[in-house]
């Protein structure tokens, strides 16, 4: 069944995610849309038809975006900076999470007396998996933001999650190696650390290659869409 309010909210979100409109702009456009739809009430039109005609009268999304973009040129950059900061925070969270998971694993392995070299390999492997999963999540988030109307909620939820989790992750990351070193003793811990630092060379290179590929792909995708 056609729900007017939901359809209007989707239409509004579609405009909002371009980052060219202020909330006041969208209020004004939405008020106009609703007033136009009311004007059609005496005509034999369904709610859906009234919405379609009214939104068509308001103008195509790309024309509106272009015109508002000219007026709100400062807004475009604040929108971009916002995403840059989200990206930096997300990257910090991802590496902190990978570090925390691997160091907790090492600490647990140390308690159970696993071979230090094996433990080093295993922890590095898990670290790689976490980083790849993180990149996969970023990719998924990019696609969800592009195509969905949940962009706003997603970002707000993700930001709160990031801010709440970062201190926990960093504390785990910092404390567990110290704990491990105390349990295992310096020489055994040294062996793990050596294996992990060799592995991290390869891992870092792989991670950057993956990021560059992702960036090029997104660039192609976004310029293709906004051209």
């Amino acid at each position: 069944m056609f729900c007017v309010d939901r359809r209007i909210a989707e239409w509004r979100n579609g405009l909002a995610e371009t980052g060219r409109f202020t909330a006041a702009n969208l209020d004004e456009l939405e008020a106009h849309l609703r007033e136009k739809m009311e004007e059609f009430q005496h005509l034999p039109l369904s709610d859906e038809e009234a919405f379609l005609v009214a939104s068509h009268r308001l103008g195509e999304k790309q024309d509106l975006t272009a015109e508002y973009g000219k007026v709100n040129s400062g807004l475009i950059w604040s929108h971009r900076f916002f995403w840059m900061i989200v990206g930096i925070l997300a990257f910090a969270a991802m590496t902190a999470l990978a570090g925390a998971v691997s160091s907790v694993l090492v600490a647990m392995g140390a308690y159970t007396g696993v071979n230090p070299k094996l433990l080093g390999f295993f922890a590095s492997g898990i670290k790689a998996v976490v980083i790849l999963a993180g990149l996969g999540f970023v990719l998924w988030a990019c696609l969800a933001v592009r195509s969905g109307s949940t962009a706003d909620r997603l970002t707000r939820g993700a930001l709160i999650g990031l801010i709440a989790f970062l201190p926990v992750l960093f504390a785990t990351r910092m404390l567990s190696p110290a704990l491990t070193a105390r349990v295992m003793g310096p020489s055994q811990y040294g062996q793990i650390a050596l294996v992990m630092s060799y592995m991290s060379i390869g891992l870092t290179v792989l991670c950057y290659i993956a990021m560059i590929v992702l960036m090029l792909w997104l660039r192609k995708r976004s310029t293709g869409l906004t051209a």
């Binding site: 006041a24 702009n25 004004e28 008020a31 136009k36 103008g59 195509e60 508002y68 000219k70 007026v71």
Partner: protein, 120 residues
Amino acid sequence: MELSKDLVAASATPIVLAILAQGENYGYAIIDQVRRLSEEQIQWADGMLYPVLHRLEKHGLIRSRMAHSNGRKRKYYRLTTSGSHALKRHREQWSIVHSTLSKLWRTAYVLCGSQNCRMA
């Protein structure tokens, strides 16, 4: 007949200023008035009016305020003093274009009326 995009863009500012010179008004009513006055000849995409209004506001030619009317929150725009001056300048400029074209159209009509019609 539909106006060309360039002409619509050029005429939007003086039209909006002239409507606001009659008194405070809001977006929906402004568009309605343009449609009625032009006898449906000038048809803007409704949403395109607002960037024009915001630009004029940014340049200090109009000012806005939020107000409630018929249970609706609306943004009302009104002309400022510099807006009135701007309208006067627009009027002078459009008068020049109008009178020049009018003279030319008359000549064209005379030419078309005679044997050597170049405008056909």
